[in-house]
């Protein structure tokens, strides 16, 4: 197939249906957390703290989550307001409620992931991965 034929095969703007599908996936993952009163970022923070062997400094948490100190400060405040974390010296740690919420959130996100994976079973996994890799290479 020539370049011209390729251009005809993929009409302009069809990549937006790809972006829309990604949006649907993100919304599905976000939706899984609604009843837990957590955002995805909050669950990520809880998971980092759950995996830590000792209280973690907010700066380290910010680095692990790749976000700014201001963002982590707001996140910590939100978690604190729900009683999910406690401050211990310079660090922060999960409360028992925080541990429980982290487990519940993780279970729900994993269930949503499974639903998405099931939905994607219509694709041949190898072909899809190669197509995605080619598309990533084409745009970067």
């Amino acid at each position: 197939m020539s370049d011209t034929e390729t251009a005809v095969a993929i009409e302009p703007c069809t990549l937006f249906s790809f972006l829309h599908a990604a949006r649907v996936m993100t919304d599905t993952l976000d939706g899984a957390l609604i009843e837990t009163n957590l955002s995805a970022a909050m669950l990520d923070a809880l998971t980092e703290l759950a995996d830590a062997v000792e209280p973690m400094a907010p700066l380290e948490l910010a680095a692990r989550l790749s976000c700014s100190f201001a963002e982590i400060a707001a996140l910590v405040d939100a978690l604190d307001a729900q009683g999910l974390i406690e401050r211990k010296g310079e660090g922060i740690a999960l409360t028992p409620t925080g541990h429980e919420r982290q487990r519940t959130g993780t279970e729900r996100v994993r269930a949503a992931q499974q639903r998405l994976s099931d939905a994607m079973a219509v694709f041949d996994a190898g072909t899809l991965e190669r197509t995605l890799a080619a598309l990533r290479a084409a745009v970067t």
Binding site: V109, R110, M120, L128, T131, A134, L135, A138
Partner: protein, 160 residues
């Protein structure tokens, strides 16, 4: 998976990085790969319209107004763009400052305001639309014929 057909620039309001949050998604390689690819595609398309002072969110709103061919209530724009009213208000503020839209009283509801496309807004929309189409062609043309065929298959399945 069924993905409803959408306009080309829809739902780019209030978008957040798909990589932020959902670190657990890495447990599902394909889902993670799909979301990372979408981020990369979106960043490339944003970069294509950025030199014109546009963004996908701005184009989405201009597109909706251009398609409607009439001023629209901000509440309808917010619903269509899948974002809260305050986000649309800020976006319309910016577009109005740039002379691309203007607010008008709603003749049917004195408490409501409508956004109208200006001639400059129509021109900006057409320029942005062309830039996006060219960028997408460039992306697709850089794929091999086999990769393009696979992508076409994926898009067809997503739309079915």
């Amino acid at each position: 998976m069924t993905v409803s057909s959408r306009g080309p620039y829809d739902q780019h309001m209030g978008k957040r990085s798909r990589k932020a949050g959902h670190r657990l998604a890495s447990a599902s390689t394909l889902v993670s790969s799909f979301l990372e690819t979408a981020d990369a595609v979106e960043a490339r398309l944003e970069a294509a319209v950025s030199p014109m002072g546009l963004s996908l969110a701005k184009l989405g709103l201009l597109h909706h107004l251009a398609e409607a061919k009439e001023p629209l209530p901000l509440s309808e724009l917010a619903q269509h763009q899948n974002c809260v009213r305050s986000n649309i208000t800020q976006l319309v503020d910016r577009l109005e400052k740039e002379g691309l839209v203007r607010r008008r009283p709603d003749p049917e509801d004195r408490r409501s305001v409508r956004a109208a496309l200006t001639p400059a807004g129509e021109q900006a929309y057409q320029r942005g639309k062309r830039a996006l189409a060219e960028e997408q062609r460039a992306i697709v043309n850089s794929l091999s014929s086999g990769e393009a065929t696979s992508l076409r298959g994926v898009l067809d399945l997503l739309g079915s």
